[in-house]
Amino acid sequence: MLKKLLQDRVYSLGITIALICLVASILFPANFPTFENVSQVMLNLSIDTIVAVGMMLLLISGAFDLSVGSVVAFSGGLAANLMYFHNLPVPLAILAGLSSAILIGWVNGYLIAYQGVNPMIQTLAMMGIVRGGALLVAGAGIQNLPYWYNAIGQSKLLGIQMPVWYMLLIVAILSFLVNKTVFFRRYYYIGGNEKAAHLSGIRVKQMKLYGFILSAALAGIAGILLSSRLGAAMSTLGRGMELRVITAVILGGASLSGGVGKIPGALLGAMFMGIIANIMVIARVSGLWQDIILGIILIFAVWLDLFVQKRSLHQNFFRPIWKKESSKELGKAELVE
């Protein structure tokens, strides 16, 4: 039973995170297990997680999107630009920011799914284009955004800042939809075997297009939230986010070859990285070392997981019990008839 749970990344990572928290609480009793610190950690990882949810869905379908970080900067930048320089009302500006993200997702999805452009090149090129666009709309940064825009990301509920709640809501809704709707379940088939999915009557291209649109839309939401939370739009927002998010998602159980992964895994992957980063800040580990330590921990975490998986896979692979049963049962069946 335990072994089965450990094989599910959502559980194994959950347990790992719990253990890390326990150790951190013992080492830093005054600084780590405080409401202030924990809510801060959650707030910091909420934006990444929202983007990671979209990335998780894409990875389940066997694709990925490198332009999300740029979209985060662009959607927030565009909304800020429209509000600050053109006095557009807050809701309209948000709508414009989100629409721009959806349009970017559509272009990515259309060119990749229908025109067959390599997803790596397409989204890498889009990353550059959109980053340039963010520089155009956000320039040297836009501050003094309207109060109600800032309120979206800076309000608190039960003492916790709103982005955390939005993130939890998005994770909950998408987890539910991915488990409970035929539409989203198709992504597992596409990622598992694209050809077989096509031959099973799944409209693969269309679904891929939707996947890119959804991922970009979530990045758009993240961009609005981030700029609202910071009270400022910057062209440098979301830089390096794509790799961070892909790392979190793979840590959370997705695979670059597609077909596997669960939405809560995106949250857990981001949590893992967020908590490690937080512990390093509390332990005053110098920035010189942070990347090195994070890298080592990542490799170790993935290797450990591989080790657990391989052991169980090994046993499954070399224990063809049902094959032996097969011939026996076949014999029986024959006798019955």
Binding site: Q143, G231, L237
Partner: protein
């Protein structure tokens, strides 16, 4: 049954809405509430007293050799703990996250590199949490920081502009480069342009983004030299602009002919001034930012200069509000003294 659940849902929803607290409205001018700054009861130094510096691009040599070195030297001289934190890359959101996480650990004082006005919220959070907070390098004007020490980037632009005008005799083509999209750089660009526009015979052929990268700066410059063989001068605004521009100008065999002014005075820059490839450096006194910044924090924590019976309680800041550390102008005449340091 159904009605009951409806009522329940509505109650819960209303409850949540009521529980939702909006952020404080920002008022221009003085803050409305006095934050209780945590000060030390005694004037004695507690060796566990911790001062934290949060920057970004923590590995940048200029930051390490000037800001961080001076800060650490100060810590050792005062006998207190000092920590330097922040992301390895130029990543403002990560710097913000670090600041916010450090606030939760309640250090004695916070020294923050004013990288971008986007960090305003984080600074205000620190102030609201009662942590003495000093910003250095570039000011964050909208924030409630207790003190600022740094250089006026507009002046850096002006200084470069005035020198360039002299170097090229008030006419010719010039270009400038730096990191686009950063507030302080944009102020510098403005300072430069405001000087140049008084000279109608000077033509600005372009503003370029070298992404704080030597190779990019060199490539941009050689392209520029190819497109404008009559280019008279280039101005740089980030640490890597100077070496990159100098490299390209040297390779084109135009050292000394194309005038270069730029910022920062790393050994590499000084060497280039010595060689006559760079004509002027607008240098910052970075050591002063962090040494005095930390000292201000210390003085605030220990109420070294009490202005009232209890400054913290009545919300009075007993350290300077804004300090301009000024600029240093390095040319071939005085470069020797800097090289000897």
């Amino acid at each position: 049954m159904k009605r009951l659940s409806t009522v329940l849902y509505t109650t819960c929803l209303t409850g949540l809405l009521v529980a939702c607290e909006l952020p404080p409205r920002q008022h221009s001018g003085e803050k409305q509430t006095a934050d209780i700054i945590r000060t030390s009861a005694s004037t004695e130094v507690d060796p566990n007293e911790e001062y934290v510096m949060v920057t970004t691009a923590i590995n940048m040599p200029m930051y390490v050799n000037h800001d961080q070195a001076a800060f650490k030297k100060w810590g050792a001289a005062r006998g207190v703990k000092v920590s330097v934190l922040g992301p390895a890359e130029w990543d403002v959101p990560a710097q913000i996250e670090t600041i916010e996480q450090v606030i939760a650990t309640r250090p004695a004082g916070l020294l923050i590199n004013g990288t971008d006005p986007g960090i305003t919220q984080a600074i205000n959070k620190a102030v609201a949490a009662g942590i003495p907070t000093v910003v250095y390098d570039s000011d964050i004007p909208g924030s409630r920081r207790h003190a600022f020490l740094g250089t006026d980037w507009y002046q850096i632009g002006q200084m470069q502009g005035e020198e360039m005008v002299k170097l090229i005799g008030g006419k010719g083509k010039i270009a400038y480069m730096g990191i686009l999209g950063l507030t302080n750089m944009e102020q510098g660009f403005q300072g430069l342009l405001d000087v140049i526009k008084k000279y109608p015979e000077i033509e600005v052929v372009g503003k370029f983004d070298d992404k704080a990268n030597v190779e990019t700066a060199a490539k941009l410059t050689s392209d520029l030299l190819a497109a404008h063989p009559d280019l008279s001068g280039i101005c740089g605004f980030d640490s890597n602009s100077g070496p990159g521009m100098a490299l390209a100008v040297k390779e084109a065999g135009k050292a000394g002919k194309v005038k270069i002014t730029t910022v920062d005075w790393e050994p590499e820059h000084l060497q280039l001034v010595q060689e006559g490839v760079i004509q002027m450096l607008a240098g910052q006194k970075r050591e002063l930012f962090t040494w005095y910044g930390a000292q201000f924090l210390f003085d605030m924590v220990h109420s070294t200069n009490k202005l009232s019976a209890n400054d913290a309680q009545i919300g009075i800041t007993n350290i300077p509000h804004t300090i301009n550390t000024g600029l240093i102008k390095i040319t071939k005449e005085n470069v020797g003294q800097f090289l000897k340091r």
